[in-house]
């Protein structure tokens, strides 16, 4: 479903993404681990189209997308949630989801009336809200919503497009322990045929969700394997010295 070959990005003498390659099958859940500065968010920027690679190729569902614009890739089924909340702050939760759903459903024409009341939009808003746990918070204005709810909405907007591939950049970043459980459930409840690539620092979540794990260091893929293999790898231990003590 998602195929990355030889992806490379350098800014002058600084190489941020070094010959990264991997393949994801449909429905696969993969977590990207790596210390800060390893180039994880840069990888996402390259995949989404916010950054153009210096070399390499990206294929989405068999189709080459390297060089296509951000919005083109989104229309082809790629969606993304951000590490820093990227919402429509002046609107309510419902309006955020309705805007996203309407955009995804193609209801952006001049002769589409009252798109936020369109049954297809209303249905999808209810569905997404249920999936991310915001069903009882729909009329809350985003700017006064608690941080945890905003993270949920962040994922919700990305899901509204019913994507084929979802990139999640640290979904639980800054979220308190009470909410982390909600995110475990959220991830568990996502459609099984949705291919998900997650950047995470929360190890419990990572091992719980992942089918496979890719570890990046200095922009390079240094390890790829199942959670058990990752746990047992001395190389990974070395990179994460200290953080792993509790999990080994």
């Amino acid at each position: 479903m998602l195929e990355v070959t030889g992806l490379h990005k350098s800014f002058g003498a600084l190489t941020v993404t070094d010959n990264v390659s991997f393949r994801m099958d449909r429905g696969e859940r993969r977590v990207v681990l790596g210390p800060n500065g390893a180039g994880k968010t840069t990888l996402f920027n390259l995949l989404a189209g916010d950054l153009a690679p210096s070399a390499g190729e990206i294929r989405l569902d068999g189709r080459p997308v390297t060089g296509l614009s951000v919005d083109r890739r989104a229309r082809l089924g790629l969606s993304r949630s951000y590490q820093k909340n990227n919402l429509f702050d002046a609107l309510t939760v419902r309006e955020n989801l309705a805007l996203a759903a309407a955009a995804a459903l193609g209801l952006s024409g001049l002769f589409r009336r009252d798109t936020h009341r369109d049954p297809a939009v209303v249905d999808r808003v209810a569905e997404i809200a249920g999936q991310v746990g915001l069903a009882d918070r729909l009329d809350m204005p985003v700017h006064s919503a608690p941080y945890g709810n905003r993270r949920q909405l962040e994922v919700g907007i990305a899901l509204a497009a019913r994507p084929k591939v979802l990139l999640m950049d640290e979904p639980t970043s800054g979220v308190g322990p009470g909410m982390i459980h909600a995110f475990h459930e959220l991830l568990g409840g996502l459609p099984r045929d949705l291919t998900i690539l997650i950047i995470e620092h929360d190890m419990d979540l990572a091992f719980d969700v992942a089918d496979r794990i890719t570890v990046l260091n200095y922009g390079k893929v240094v390890f790829e394997g199942t959670p058990e293999e990752t746990r047992a790898s001395p190389l990974v231990h070395e990179i994460y010295l200290g953080e792993w003590g509790a999990h080994a």
Partner: protein, 321 residues
């Protein structure tokens, strides 16, 4: 997001009725003022559409207004087209230029965008000013008015032209409201709120910006054609950069992002100018001070402040319920 609320409907209808009454009961001069208010209000509404709702603050709308006027004038006088077709020409020219500006500037942010629109507006002014074939800085006289005799309307009568202009204002407002309430309009507002996210949701942003600007340009061009019919004469003065500035002042004075505010602002500014003109020659200074004071006072504009207070009261009532 745009919602046609009760207060908006009330105020715009009151404004239209007030203008009609003033035109019917006042003398010739009152009608002249009403026509000026109506044409400027249409221009201001078109600007509010892209600036207040689309987040694209343009300083070239005066030039689009002028292009509409010239398009109509040239088509009607130099090309000999019937006024109805000439009107279409004026509107089309406004739409084309607006769409081009919207497309070219779609990647420019904030201050760069404003500066670019100022520059392109000036380009149009210089081109028209230098065009000997279009009369240069002497302009083109003999511009006709539409022939609505089939509807029993004689636009040569100043009262009927004034009422016609008011009707056009109502029509343009309804059209703008239609656009803003559509899927297209909501997408445009979404782009204003968070452009990057809209792109990530699959929206080809530059197309929406270009189309929004084209629609706005069509309306501004229509305002220009109307103004051309009023004075029956066009000159490059109609598209000098200060016209774009005045349009922006009107929008801010009335309330940007309210759609009704600009119309209110137009009425206020024209009446203010009429009063001040009898006192002093220095209108530019007054308009500059008005703008500065409005911005320093919070920038909501007169109608905008009213709407805000009504909304706040409604929210307090809801909270207590």
């Amino acid at each position: 997001m745009f919602h046609q609320t009760g207060i908006k409907t009330a105020v715009i209808l009151a404004l239209l009725a007030g203008l009609a009454a003033y035109a019917a009961l006042g003398g010739y001069f009152a009608r002249e003022l009403v026509i000026e208010i109506a044409t400027l209000a249409i221009l201001a509404i078109s600007l509010d559409m892209v600036a207040g709702f689309g987040g694209m603050v343009s300083l070239c709308h005066g030039s689009i207004f002028g292009l509409g006027a010239y398009g109509f004038a040239v088509a009607a006088t130099l090309l000999g087209l019937p006024p109805g077709l000439a009107l279409v020409a004026g509107i089309a020219l406004g739409a084309l230029f607006g769409g081009a500006v919207g497309a070219v500037t779609s990647r420019a942010r904030g201050i760069f965008f404003i500066m670019a629109t100022l520059a392109f507006g000036q380009m149009v002014y210089v081109l028209i000013f230098d065009a000997r074939a279009l009369g240069g800085d002497d302009g083109l006289p003999g511009v006709p008015r539409l022939d609505l005799s089939a509807l029993g309307v004689d636009l040569q009568s100043s009262l009927q032209f004034a009422l016609f202009a008011i009707a056009c204002l109502g029509l343009v407002y309804a059209l703008a409201a239609f656009v803003l309430r559509s899927g297209f309009g909501r997408t445009l507002c979404g782009i204003h709120a968070n452009e990057a996210r809209m792109r990530a949701l699959g929206i080809p942003v530059w197309q929406y910006k270009a189309n929004g600007f084209a629609l706005s340009g069509a309306m501004a061009g229509f305002a220009g054609a109307l103004a051309a019919q009023h004075t029956m004469f066009v000159s490059p003065e109609m598209m000098v950069w200060t016209v774009s500035g005045e349009a922006l002042v009107i929008v801010i004075l009335g309330g940007m992002g309210t759609l009704v505010g600009p119309a209110v602002g137009a009425a206020l500014l024209i009446l203010l100018r009429h009063e001040i003109a009898s006192l002093t020659n220095h209108w530019h200074m007054v308009i500059g001070i008005v703008l500065i004071v409005t911005v320093l006072a919070g920038g909501r504009g007169l109608y905008g402040q009213l709407e805000h207070m009504v909304q706040a009261r409604r929210e307090r009532v809801k909270a207590h319920a």
